[in-house]
């Protein structure tokens, strides 16, 4: 899963182009402007760091600037205070030391999310700031000087070093974003549950995001102290952390060009303020007004807007993706009467006496359902009957239940969600695909292990979606729904749980979906449990059906018989509901 992907190359080339223009302009410029550009690039690097942890992985970590402080102190100690390792060789050490600290900050992120995480990381930023102010930690007191070696002190040489560093870090981020790490970052940003159900280890993904982000921030901090000469605690104040974060959001620092824009904007604006002899408060007020303005307008920040404009132009050339119809030559045998279900089976999916209680409410009461391998079973029942709870229990989102859930005779108890994904996959009622990815990348993500182009093509063919570079969030709902089902199958699971796939689809779309579902057991060797309200679809696809009502299983047997049962009708169906054929 490593190595350059075709998709990275355009971005890398653009990055190279912009950076070449930059060096051509700045290298011959006077020392002051080189200094401004140097600081700007360092700030851009910090922006990259925020871009990884928030822009890509969606975690509100407000303390990346503080992680830069760790890099600063390391370099300050190694090159300034003790002189063991001269700059710039101490800079990688600073970056490496920031990593375990960044991982430590990442640990709260395993349980805290959103603004809760923001508060904790802000607290961390304040803690680091107080450590810096105290000046007791090695390398943090401003009483020494970090000097550059002779070969870096010449005209423009330090600028070139910083320039090369940013180029390297940005290129690494571009490649990482397209690699498996990057795909998992985007996946957890969209939905942790969906990611885990696809086999992604949320724990590991968060750690890689924090780790990479800390490394970049540490490198930037090391460069900063080498530029300024000695650490200045004020650069890492909580206010700076917050402002920087907001700037990163405004500029869309998840993309390299957003990070560069951030650095550019910061550098130029503070230089101008100095040139015009304006008090720093003016700069603050302008930032305040500007940030409110930009935040109220957009989503994805400045570079998100730019990318959207570029994508729009590209989209006009591509035709709207339509579903290909199912291969008409393959006959569909809609079996509406299967054999009576066996209670205890050694293969497929088995729920035995499953009971789930939330406090006083019993969501599921001793439910026993079996889905034999390579078969399709339907699950119906009114809202609140417990269908989604059943699927959640199978996926592993319910911490405590009694009873047994088994796949191929093996109990799933105690298996974490992302391990269950090897055996059992599920879809969600709401759209939880990862919008930034194209269908191929999305399926690659879901496959967990290496998967061939042919296997991806097989799924795309099954789903009826052509191989396209268009992002998922620009495709229609029906295609995304089918791709979500397809992502279940690419992992070759033993069991697929499909949750209300026909919701919101027209009768024809439902029938098309149903015919595709019928193919799954033969084509992919999986057992399928389909949860639905659409009775036409259930009759078409499921020879056997189970009915839940108030958490209890009230019927389980051949579909026609069950749906004609007066008890089921009274509880759920009323008289026969005519849906347009």
């Amino acid at each position: 899963m490593s190595g350059l992907r075709r998709g990275s190359i355009p971005s890398l080339l653009t990055l190279m182009g912009v950076m070449l223009v930059l060096v051509a302009v700045v290298y011959p410029a006077p020392k002051y402007w080189q200094y401004v550009a140097t600081v700007g690039l360092i700030q851009a690097a910090i922006g990259l760091s925020i871009g990884v942890v928030y822009g890509s992985a969606g975690m509100l970590s407000l303390c990346q600037v503080s992680l830069a402080a760790v890099g600063s102190w390391t370099v300050g100690y190694l090159s300034g205070q003790s002189g063991i390792i001269p700059a710039p060789w101490s800079i990688p050490f600073g970056a490496l030391l920031a990593v375990p600290i960044g991982l430590l900050v990442g640990l709260p992120a395993m349980r805290l999310r959103g603004v809760n995480l923001a508060i904790v990381t802000l607290g961390f930023a304040v803690a680091i700031y107080s450590v810096g102010e105290a000046g007791e930690v090695p390398g943090s007191s401003p009483t020494f000087f970090v000097s550059l070696p002779a070969w870096l002190s010449g005209k423009g040489m330090w600028f070139l070093f910083v320039w090369a560093s940013f180029l390297g870090l940005a290129a690494a981020v571009i490649v990482l974003r397209r690699s498996r790490w990057g795909l998992t970052w985007l996946a957890i940003a969209r939905s942790e549950r969906a990611a885990a159900s696809m086999g992604v280890s949320v724990f590991r993904t968060k750690l890689t995001a924090f780790g990479v982000s800390a490394f970049i921030a540490g490198w930037a901090g090391g460069m900063l102290v080498a530029t300024i000469g000695s650490p200045d605690p004020g650069t890492f104040s909580p206010l700076e952390c917050l402002s920087f974060f907001v700037l990163a959001v405004m500029m869309g620092a998840g993309y390299w060009e957003g990070a560069l824009a951030l650095g550019f904007f910061n550098a130029v604006s503070s230089a101008l303020l100095r040139q015009w002899n304006l008090p720093p408060e003016i700069g603050s007020l302008l930032f305040a007004v500007g940030s409110v303005q930009v935040l109220s307008a957009g989503h994805g920040g400045f570079s998100g807007d730019v990318r959207r404009l570029i994508n729009r132009r590209r989209r006009r050339d591509e035709h709207v993706v339509t579903l290909r119809s199912r291969d008409a030559s393959a006959p569909a045998i809609a079996r509406t009467d299967g054999p009576p279900p066996a209670i205890d089976i050694g293969s497929g999916l088995q729920f035995r006496d499953l009971t789930v209680k939330y406090g006083a409410v019993t969501a599921l009461d001793s439910v026993t359902i079996s889905v034999p391998e390579r078969s399709i079973v339907g699950l119906v029942g009114p809202n609140g009957a417990g269908k989604s709870t059943l699927v959640d229990a199978a996926s592993g989102f319910i911490p405590s239940y009694t009873g047994n859930i088994m796949v191929d005779g093996r109990s799933l108890d105690g298996m974490p969600v992302h391990h269950r994904a090897r055996l059992l996959r599920r879809t969600f009622q709401s759209d939880r695909t990862v919008g930034e990815l194209n269908p191929g990348d999305y399926l690659r993500l879901s496959a967990v292990k290496a998967v061939t182009i042919a296997e991806i093509g097989e799924i795309l063919d099954f789903v009826g979606c052509p191989a396209t570079r268009t992002r998922l969030d620009q495709l229609d709902v029906r295609t995304r729904r089918l791709l979500m089902i397809g992502s279940c199958l690419v992992g070759q699971p033993k069991v697929a749980l499909i949750d209300e796939p026909a919701a919101g689809l027209s009768a024809d779309e439902s029938e098309d979906l149903g015919l595709r579902l019928l193919d799954i057991p033969e084509r992919f060797g999986a057992a399928v449990l389909v949860i639905e309200h659409d009775m036409e679809l259930v009759r078409l696809v499921c020879p056997t059906v189970a009915v839940l009502d108030f958490g209890k299983l009230i019927a389980f047997g051949p579909t026609a018989a069950v749906l004609d049962d007066p008890q089921v009708q009274a509880a759920y169906l009323g008289d026969e509901l005519v849906v347009p054929a």
Partner: protein
């Protein structure tokens, strides 16, 4: 040690009041206001300014609260006008803008001037358990809890409270039913700023005359709010007092220079312990 605990009550009361503000604004308006202590500090600074003209202290407090309310109206108007549809993260990021602006303005006001603010209770103390407790401290801590109770009851029992709770859950649907969401937003911001101005007024006599530390009071306040899971007002108030006391104890110890790290340490320890089994409940 008793002295330190009492000393911690001063800061603790402020943190408690601010934490209650933060929780209420988060629940009602879907915004984590990073600027809350800074905005309150601006109101409190205006009070110092009025004082410097020789105005009666109580009158200047009253006018300071009025200024605080006005600041809240402005902030609330911006939020209602431009951020009604925005996500929690974007709204909260916008409050950073308010924070930066407040610090800039506050620095200007406080810079270089020597304000002194007399204790409105004249430094009088009450003796409890052999120790003298300043009346101001007692009033402050009591007010914080009275506030918590009042808000809690008000939200559950009044029609306005029902409207606010409806708005906090589904702002668009509430609007479609005729609830005047913009007006309520301004109202809550204004009330929040009045409360934070009041809280900062209590802190002024004992603090340094430099603005940024006043703005940073938001950090222990949000930590306390997080101890209430951003939902429970009472836990937030209690958390504020506890953080204040803990800080005071650490300040007197060998690690005094690292007092500012206390909110982080407390909140991480508590949250990680509470949440240790809770893998999926908050995950989307």
């Amino acid at each position: 040690m008793y002295e330190q605990i009492l000393g911690g009550l001063v800061a603790g009361g402020v943190y408690a009041a601010l934490a209650v503000c933060v929780v209420v604004m988060y629940q009602m308006l879907g915004v984590l206001s990073f600027a809350q202590s800074a905005l309150g500090a601006l109101g409190a600074c205006s009070m110092l300014w009025f004082q410097s003209f020789g105005m009666n202290p109580w009158l200047s407090v009253l006018l300071g609260l009025v200024v605080g309310a006005a600041i809240g109206v402005v902030a609330g108007w911006i939020m209602a006008r431009y951020f009604l549809e925005a996500s929690v993260e974007v709204r909260s990021a916008a409050t950073v803008g308010f924070l930066v602006a407040s610090v800039a303005i506050g620095n200007r006001i406080l810079n270089g001037s020597t304000y002194s603010f007399p204790d409105p209770f004249g430094g009088r103390t009450v003796t409890i358990g052999g120790q003298g407790i300043p009346i101001a401290t007692l009033v402050e801590v009591t007010l914080a809890f009275v506030l918590a109770v009042g808000i809690s009851v008000g939200l559950k029992k009044t029609f306005l409270g029902a409207q606010l709770r409806a708005m906090s859950e589904r702002a668009t649907t509430a609007q479609l039913l005729g609830v005047r969401v913009g007006l309520l937003t301004v109202l809550v911001w204004s009330a929040g700023c009045v409360v934070s101005t009041m809280a900062l007024v209590f802190v002024l006599p004992t603090s340094t005359t430099s603005f940024p530390p006043l703005a940073y009071l938001i950090v222990p306040a949000t930590a306390a709010a997080l101890l209430g899971l951003l939902q429970n007002i009472y836990m937030a108030a209690l958390g504020g007092v506890l953080i204040g006391i803990a800080e005071s104890l650490v300040l007197a110890s060998r690690f005094g220079r690292y007092t500012d790290a206390i909110p982080f340490l407390i909140v991480v320890a508590v949250m990680m312990y509470w949440r240790r089994k809770d893998v999926w409940s908050e995950a989307r």
